[in-house]
Amino acid sequence: MRTLAPFGRRPARVAGVERIGEYDLLWAEDADGPGDPRPGQFYMLAAEERWGAGSDERPWLPRAFSYCRVEDGRIGFILEDIGPGTHRLAQLREGERLWLTGPLGIGFTPPASGRPLLVGGGIGVAPILCWSDELGDAARVLLGFRSAGYATAASLFHGDVALATDDGSAGKLAYVTELLREELDADAQATVYACGPPPMLEAVRALCAERGVTAQLAMESGMACGFGACFGCVVPTRNGYVRLCVDGPVVDAAELETALVPGSGH
């Protein structure tokens, strides 16, 4: 499922940055872009001004983000201030401008049969949110976070969600994969959609492989370009290396020996 991107990067006005617990939710007015990106697709983002000359003279390349919601002509991106790129993006204020390229890559494919089971971990809730918006009540949503401060992002979801945290400060004291195991015990016909840190994705992959459950994983890798030019974002699959930016970021879990890829999620 792919919506084509306009060719080239384009300026987009920042409509605002909301604090959502430990995360920032950046809203961009994308007047020149398509209003119908597919959940799981992503955009390359850079600040128009002061992109560079930050910590260690970085950032320089744009950064890849799954969009989390399209609302009133605005596109939302959830980010966590953890490096020079996310730090600069988190500083943006209403009226400043971004460079935007996208939507890029291939998004989630609806289930052939069975109930969609959506699993999001940490910042990986971004594509799960728009996918849940689209699927509505048909989908069951399971979310995991480090702690209550991060779990505030669960409030963005319109319907009911099951929540777990690593320290038990919100929801159940568990990894989200334990919630997934319980759901699969009850319904082995589900189709799983997951996005989160590599160890979580690997746990989801292994569990679904063991149960013979179909799973689509939205994966992450460092990217320079986002449109297949640099060949930098490959993950190993049973059919060789695959570029996440053009043949992903959503990958059929059955294609993977492992979801743990050197260099991802560092």
């Binding site: 792919r2 084509l4 991107a5 306009p6 060719f7 080239g8 990067r9 850079a46 560079g52 260690d56 003279e57 970085r58 950032p59 320089w60 390349l61 744009p62 460079w99 390229t101 890029l104 890798s221 460092g222 990217m223 320079a224 370009c225 449109f227 297949g228 030019a229 640099c230 060949f231 930098g232 974002c233 490959v234 993950v235 190993p236 060789g240 290396y241 570029r243 053009v246 890829v261 050197p262 260099g263 991802s264 560092h266």
Partner: protein
Amino acid sequence: MTPAREIELCGVALRGPVLNGSGTFDAIAARRTFGEALLERFPFDAFVSKTITLAPRQGNPPPRLWETPAGLINSIGLPNKGLDGFLASDLPELAQLPVPLVVSVMGFSHDELAELVGRVGERDEVAMIELNVSCPNVETGLVMGADPVETTRAVERTRTRTDKPLIVKLTPNASEPQAVAAAAQAAGADAVSLINTLKGMALHPRTKTPWLGGGSGGVSGPAVRAVALEQVYTVARAVEIPVIGMGGIQTGRHAADFLAAGAAAVAVGTESFRDPAAGARIADDLAVILASERGLSESAGTPAGTRAET
């Protein structure tokens, strides 16, 4: 009025002087991403393919990228479908691009290189061939493009296999790129292009072992522009054949600098990663700058290419 920008490079008419660096733009993947808009506003005046080798290659294990101050280190490892796969599946798609096609080839021996050039050269869709000589010759252990004698042999061996223009892509990791360029010219090359990436490395922040799956990599981006400009300037004074200059070009002004240093054409590489349409933007800005400089030199007798701006 749009300023005229056509050039002729090695006898091939180009609508302008802005190419892409090999391996920095995959027109087939870009078309999947951007659709036909890519062809309507194709950003380069000739398209240089990613380097192909005789046998298919998977490329290096990840991670393959590291961001540096104003640049990038990559260790991609030339993944490609091999000569047969390229000719069967990629060439027909690349032939649909609205600009002449340059195919980049790399051989791990002179025999391999000769076969690649011979078989690519017989295809009508191919306008020119670029020899990527930044790899070791498995027979001698020497990096072909780092050594004038190796370069002479590589060009002599391939020259007899095609009448198409041969471009030698020079590596900056040579003690005297101008000597390699002169050797390429003497052996029958029609042009040289430079620079390829500079060798570089990054360490894992925690383990302090090399970050890149391939160990070391190649540095590109504006971080290398001053190095590239000096090498283009020096090489352009050592050879008569055209020089295609590249290395960190981000703006029309940078491109104009490379032309003023002696390049006949320029190539955009890493900047396309930041903006897929960078080539078109740079070409437009360059045309305006060159027209204005021509106007200045005609009206006030100022030599073209000089400016006091800092």
